[in-house]
């Protein structure tokens, strides 16, 4: 291996309650394309945030060597200064500004106290040529497609004499042509001596472009493979990525697949006017009584959009298709209607759109079903306390009082409050979006046990999850979602992590 441009040694990064990176070491040779792969939550993004200074020196342990020098980045500016540029999934461009303004934002070319716009436009044009993008630099960024915006991000990095370019899932939002274009650009840049780290879930792409591949799993480096020899296959990668044993934390139960169909979704499509594209295409699936249906897939594949579009469509997608709930065709125009019909949705982002953090446990639990504790619009305070106490006991919410503010609870207890809130609406169908994200193993186990109890009582559950062991451990059936489509349905006996991964990265 040639001389490394980057060496990260024994990096450990902890968040409260979670070890996101555990003694990770990572070497990147100068002038190579190095791919970083692993499941969601394996620590890839965290590692890149450590590298780029998002997590400043001192908030992690370990050493970073770049260009042979020990680096102690305090922020992104420091890492940019030595020639590291990171391009995130969520693009950091300002839509209302022009291409050339964006390229030199934060790096303005000055003449005296003012900006030299002529020079800016000239240099922007050169940067655009380097990424082979043929647009007028005076175009507003919002008028360009995602693929072109991505290239502008790269042009922006190149304008700063970048030595190491980091791309976090660069093709996840791109169509095939744009992806192919981007990959060939990366090869081009390699010829010009730019080193590149690419995080990707699309293993075909990874194999097509990588010189070296490093696999992360559960915050640890599993292996670093030389991809040029041709011995590395998708199968090998998947095995390394998911290779852990399934822990025995999933309660045993009779698998259910014979109940009557509770929810039937047919030819369901959704167009998101904000994104200007279809987020769901011709999706059909069903859920039976007493069944846990797993919706597997990668982040951004459209699972949450699917759940939301069924649950009253609060984001205002243009939807098309049929939903039949308990034998009756329905069309919910507000979550209120979905709730009234017996659907509950526990959101992925508890803090963002699930709970009201400044209110107490009691108020959060009753919010979705205040009518259940009120007479003629007046809340019966005693009934509310009783309901909240019931759920505190049955869900084992650890808190000194139900008048505790939800913002002060741990992730696991917040999730239990969320579950309590949705169980109190007495649903027939419970949609759980990443039900165990960011919570500890003990609370996970409690939630799995609860889910088991609920389906035994006749509830139906749709479980959206990025954690394959969880999908396999809990589901009766698994649907795999990829790019807004259902790419496969597997009964649990036939589902393996490898097959799911294959269908999800398809």
């Amino acid at each position: 291996m040639s001389t490394p441009i980057l060496e990260m040694r024994n990096i450990t990064k902890e968040f409260p309650g979670v070890k996101a990176l555990n003694n990770v070491s990572f070497r990147v040779a100068a002038g190579e394309i190095h791919c970083l792969v692993g499941e969601n939550g394996a620590g890839k993004s965290t590692l890149m945030k450590v590298l780029s200074g998002v997590y400043p020196h001192g908030s992690y342990s370990g050493e970073i060597l770049f260009g042979g020098q020990v680096q102690t980045f305090r922020n992104i500016r420091d890492s940019e200064h030595v020639g590291i540029a990171i391009i995130y999934q969520e693009l950091a461009l300002i839509p209302e500004m022009t291409v050339y303004e964006n390229i030199f934002l934060g790096n303005e070319i000055r003449r005296g106290p003012t900006i030299d716009w002529n020079e800016t436009i000239k240099r922007a044009t050169q940067a655009l040529q380097k990424v082979r993008l043929n647009v007028n630099p005076a175009t507003k960024v919002k008028d360009l497609g995602v693929g072109k915006q991505q290239l502008i991000e790269i042009a922006k990095a190149l304008s700063r004499d970048v030595k190491l370019l980091i791309l976090d899932e660069p093709t996840s939002a791109l169509n095939e042509d744009d992806s192919e274009n981007l990959l060939s650009l990366l090869r081009d840049l390699r010829e010009h001596g730019v080193t590149c780290i690419m995080i990707s879930h699309k293993l075909k792409e990874v194999l097509a472009i990588a010189d070296t591949i490093t696999v992360l799993r559960d915050g640890q480096t599993i292996c670093t493979l030389d991809a040029q020899g041709g011995q590395v296959s998708e199968g090998v990668l998947i095995k390394h990525m998911v290779g852990r044993e399934i822990d025995n934390i999933y309660p045993k139960r009779e698998r259910q697949r014979s109940g009557e169909v509770v929810l039937d979704v047919a030819n369901w499509s959704a167009y998101d006017p904000a994104l200007g594209r279809n987020v769901l295409k011709d999706v059909s699936f069903n859920v039976r009584r007493g069944e846990i249906v797993g919706l597997a897939g990668l982040m951004g594949s459209g699972r949450t959009e699917l759940a939301l579009s069924i649950f009253g469509n609060p984001d205002g997608y243009r939807v098309d298709g049929r939903i039949t709930l308990k034998g009756r065709p329905c069309h919910f125009t507000h979550p209120q209607a979905a709730i009234a019909a017996g659907v509950a949705y526990v959101t992925e982002d508890r803090k963002g759109d699930g709970l009201i953090l400044i209110q107490d446990i009691k108020q959060n639990i009753t919010l979705a079903n205040l009518r259940g504790i009120a007479q003629r619009g007046v809340i019966n305070a005693n009934a509310e306390v009783k309901v909240a106490e019931d759920y505190r006991t049955s869900l084992n919410i650890k808190t000194p009082s139900i008048e505790q503010r939800v913002g002060n609870l741990s992730g696991g207890n917040q999730q239990k409050v969320s579950l309590g809130k949705w169980l109190f609406v007495k649903p027939d169908l419970l949609i759980l979006d990443e039900p165990t994200r960011g919570i500890d193993v003990g609370a996970k186990y409690e939630i799995y046990t609860l889910m088991t109890r609920l389906v035994q009582q006749g509830l139906s559950i749709i479980m959206i999850s990025s954690e394959l062991p969880e999908v396999l451990g809990m589901s009766d059936r698994v649907y795999i979602v990829s790019s807004g489509r259902i790419t496969g349905e597997l009964p649990i006996e036939e589902a393996t992590q490898e097959r799911i991964m294959q269908l999800a990265t398809n």
Binding site: F311, P314, H334, P335, Q336, A338, I339, A340, Y345, T347, G352, D353, G354, L355, I356, L357, I358, Q359, Q363, T366, L367, A368, L370, R371, A374, G377, V378, I379, A381, N382, V385, E389, S401, E403, G407, K421
Partner: protein, 415 residues
């Protein structure tokens, strides 16, 4: 000092330590009451007691009423993360319409010669309708409330000048109407007869009833909480609290009974506060309002209709603007071309002083009333002291800034 420390038993904290703890924990809730108390005490001293005199307090409340009702409505608007800049001139405009509706057509063009009992509900309904317009712009068309209501501010200002352009100030002759901000509830005994001559007997009786009611409800509330095993105040502190509230109510009653008794303004403001406090703290609607303010996305996913809530809150604001306009016109027995100028900012200031969070989701109606009283006391007290108006603004600015700094500081500590 050491003897005090020795006397406190281990495990059972002393009364003083207990009190300290309770005050520290509830510093935000009690803070504004303490501030109001301190401000009133200072002015009482600097004016040799004139400030606290029955006549002055009565005047102070009558002058604060029309801001106080606006502050109540503004509280809800800010709680759901909006703002309403149009309420000042809206109240002026609606006040002028009320004056015209009651005027003699021979004196004022367009006068309808209607009695107050007809005009008042009419104006209130008109207020609700203006709220519908604001809500339509904000909820339906998605225009930021700041901009939508800034347009309202301009529009109602123009409308006010338009309807008063010919006549200038419109004098209101209707005695019933004028009594709203100048009159007092009747007494059961003729004044200066019976026991305690010169004191308003009905006011005293109502005060005593209020004290009994407050004590009974507080004791019930505490029992209920104990039954559920919630943490409650320790016995001695609870008694202290009851004594304090009772003494305060008694003091206010005594002061007001000393000068004509309860004014109609007090009755109206109290009515508004009781209704709004009930709605915000006890009803589904109130819970939905705070949910929308606390986290709109979560509220929507929980089945709360954000549009409906926005309509309700702006309509209530419109109605209270109308009430404010009525109280103001009644106070000066006339409608003027500049009525309502800057009311909106005084109401917003009162709400912030009263602990409403600019980020939304937090703030009580009672707090905003106290905030309005703080502002009113500052005006009244400094006027009595003969302080120049320019300095008055600066003092008010400092109080507003300190109140918000205090709020932010205590909020951060609670995290």
């Amino acid at each position: 000092m050491s003897s005090v420390a020795d006397s406190s038993k281990v495990g059972a904290p002393s009364f003083v330590a207990n009190l300290q703890k309770v005050l520290q924990q509830n510093i935000r809730e009690y803070g504004m009451f303490v501030a109001l108390f301190v401000i009133m005490a200072i002015f009482t001293i600097t004016t040799n007691g004139i400030f606290i005199s029955s006549r002055n307090i009565s005047n102070l409340i009558n002058q604060t009423g029309y801001i106080a009702v606006l502050a109540v409505g503004m509280t809800l608007v800010i709680v759901i993360r909006h703002i309403d800049l149009s309420v000042g001139f809206l109240s002026g405009f609606l006040g002028a319409l009320a004056a015209i509706a009651m005027a003699n057509p021979e004196v004022i063009e367009g006068g309808l010669n209607l009695p107050a009992v007809v005009v008042i509900p009419m104006i209130l309904v008109l207020g609700i309708l203006t709220g519908l317009i604001t809500a339509f712009l904000v909820a339906q068309l998605g225009i930021p409330a700041f901009v939508a209501t800034l347009a309202g501010w301009l529009g109602y200002r123009g409308a006010l000048q338009l309807v008063t352009a010919r006549t200038g100030t419109i004098i209101i002759a209707d005695e019933t109407f004028n009594a709203l901000s100048n009159g007092f509830i009747p007494d059961i005994f003729a004044p200066d007869t019976g026991p305690l001559p010169g004191v308003h007997k009905l006011t005293l009786i109502l005060g005593v009833l209020a004290i009994i009611l407050i004590n009974v409800s507080q004791i019930n509330d505490r029992r209920k909480k104990q039954a559920y095993g919630f943490e409650v105040l320790s016995n001695d502190i609870f008694i202290l609290k009851l004594v304090f509230i009772s003494a305060l109510t008694a003091g206010i009653t005594w002061i007001m009974a000393g000068y004509n008794g309860l004014s109609w303004t007090v009755v109206i403001v109290l009515g508004v506060v009781i209704v709004y406090d009930f709605v915000t703290s006890q009803t589904v609607l109130g819970r939905h309002i705070y949910a929308v303010g606390g986290n709109p996305e979560a509220a929507q996913l929980s089945g709360v209709n954000i549009k409906t809530i926005t309509y309700v809150v702006f309509c209530s604001m419109g109605m209270l603007s109308a009430l404010s306009g009525i109280l103001y016109a009644s106070r000066f027995k006339s409608a003027t071309t500049t009525a309502g100028n800057l009311f909106e900012l005084e109401a917003i200031a009162a709400a912030f002083i009263g602990g409403v969070s600019p980020a939304g989701g937090i703030g009580k109606v009672i707090g905003s009333i106290v905030g309005a009283l703080v502002m009113g006391s500052l005006s009244s007290g400094m006027n009595l002291m003969g302080i120049d108006i320019s300095l008055q603004y600066i003092v008010k600015a400092a109080v507003l800034a300190v109140a918000v700094i205090f709020d932010v500081a205590t909020r951060n500590r609670g995290r």
